[in-house]
């Protein structure tokens, strides 16, 4: 039984930005959760992504610095070329080890380590993409009791990545453009 939630980890590749931009405005300060976004992106030198996301939400948006303490109402964005992991003391750590699924940051790496720390209070969202990254991570999240959300492949710009997920594991919520409010209702579950 998943929830209530402390953290949402969003993984996205090609075509996923628009869905993130749609979700962000729903994040209001009365929702006490932290968000970690792992995008497959090319360069950290472009700070425009952080700016772009900041304009869409009341939450603070920042690129992950190593040892950042995870706080509610903050969106942490994985830096290009680093894996992001979560420690038991709820800090974020960075790792430049081998690419996973040809990616660094890899969505699997963050999903798996978040599952290990947060268990039932983790929600993972896998969005559009052309890569198989994220599916193993969703399985790990599910095994630890986390809540699994996948963008509806039919409505994703690039269906391959969410399609892999829906084919390989049960999904708790299939996300499309007009049920984001359902997702947010889940996040508003009262803390025990």
């Amino acid at each position: 039984m998943a929830g209530p939630f402390d953290i949402v980890v969003i993984g996205g590749s090609a075509g996923s930005l628009s869905m993130v931009l749609q979700i962000l405005p729903y994040l209001k300060m009365d929702i006490p959760i932290a968000v970690v976004v792992v995008f497959h992106r090319k360069s950290s030198e472009d700070t425009t992504l952080i700016e772009l996301l900041s304009h869409r939400t009341e939450f603070e948006v920042k690129e992950v610095d190593e040892k950042d303490l995870i706080r509610p109402n903050v969106v942490y964005v994985a830096p290009a070329d680093y894996h992001v992991l979560i420690e038991k003391d709820h800090t974020l750590s960075l790792d430049v080890s081998e690419k996973v699924n040809f990616c660094r940051p890899s969505i699997d790496v963050t999903f798996e380590s978040a599952a290990d720390v947060y268990g039932k209070s983790l929600m993972c969202i896998l969005l559009s993409g052309a890569n198989a990254d994220g599916v193993q991570g969703l399985k790990a999240a599910r095994d630890k009791g986390g809540f699994v959300v996948v963008q509806d492949p039919a409505s994703a710009e690039v269906s391959y990545m969410p399609q892999q997920a829906t084919e390989q594991l049960p999904v708790d919520l299939l996300l499309h453009d007009d049920n984001i409010d359902v997702l947010i209702d889940c996040l508003r579950l009262p803390k025990r």
Partner: protein, 292 residues
């Protein structure tokens, strides 16, 4: 699912393919780390646990251990396997001229300061397979400083030091490194620095002549010289705060007054006890100068 808003929540009829590979628990990881100290004298206790756990579990899966007991026994009793363990769980991913702006800053702002010194001593702490050391050697050569420089390259993992000595890197990386080199302000033909041999690029021996290799562990070893520049990039991200603090003190003890300390693009001195003795160089790069 009593308190979830269940409408619109859907399930697919997919198989739950259970992973059968062995997954060590936190407690088992603790036991392994304790064994490493006790049996082999290697202390990974203060490494960032999430990354370490991931790498150990990956090793256990790759090497197809069926039980924790079997893995533990092998690691305790087999020195060859222990060497393999160290090689696999330390991160040895590195690049030439990674973070091109950083190298541009070294070239344009730091080397001209070092140039005034009669002998330039540089320490690459956690040098891995040496791509950064060779990048530095190229910068020094182009600034005509290599002859009066010594590059100390150290790592916890003895296996990588052999690779530094050889100065041979995969040929398929050279296109990327060449682009990095140009973006960092390099003016020469990058391919003039190496000879292609099938899949390998063998770097000019002149570049390797000033490199001094040593096995050094930032966890347990002490300062061994004084330097004008220490580079330790993307090494401390694997340490917890306590161990980071130890490493930074070690660097502070090993830096001459007005020396430079260079860290990885996501690392900082800011919250450490030595921060008041350092000033970050003017641009955004992660280079600090020891001012007191």
């Amino acid at each position: 699912m009593s308190y979830l808003p269940c409408y619109n929540v859907i399930y697919h009829n997919a198989d739950m393919n259970q992973e059968t590979s062995l997954d060590l628990s936190d407690n088992e990881i603790e036991i392994v780390l304790h064994d490493l100290v006790e049996v082999h004298g290697y202390d990974f206790v203060n490494y960032s646990r999430a990354s370490l756990k991931r790498r150990i579990n990956r090793l256990v899966a790759n090497d197809k251990f069926l039980s924790f007991a079997e893995f533990r026994y092998r690691l305790r009793s087999d020195d060859v396997y222990f060497k393999h363990f160290v090689e696999e769980i330390t991160v040895n991913v590195t690049e030439m001229f990674r973070d091109t702006q950083f190298y541009r800053t070294l070239r344009e702002e730091i080397l001209p300061v070092l140039a005034t010194s009669p002998l330039i001593r540089i320490w690459h702490a956690g040098c891995s397979t040496g791509e950064e050391v060779y990048s530095m050697a190229i910068l020094l050569q182009e600034a005509r400083l290599l002859q009066k420089s010594l590059l100390y390259a150290t790592d916890i993992n003895p296996a990588v030091l052999e690779k530094v000595r050889a100065g041979v890197f995969p040929m398929n990386q050279m296109k990327q490194y060449s682009e990095n080199y140009i973006l960092s302000g390099g003016k020469n033909d990058f391919s003039s620095y190496y000879t292609a041999q099938y899949n390998a690029a063998k770097f000019d021996e002149q570049l390797g002549k000033k490199i001094i290799l040593a096995n050094h562990n930032l966890v347990s070893d002490s300062s061994f010289n004084e330097f004008q520049l220490i580079l330790c990039r993307n090494v401390m991200i694997y340490f917890d705060k306590e161990l980071q603090e130890r490493a930074l003190k070690l660097f502070d003890d090993s830096l001459e007054p007005l020396g430079f300390l260079a860290l990885g693009s996501k690392e900082t001195l800011k919250f450490s006890s030595i921060s008041h003795k350092y000033r970050q160089v003017a641009n955004k790069e992660k280079i600090w100068r020891k001012i007191r």
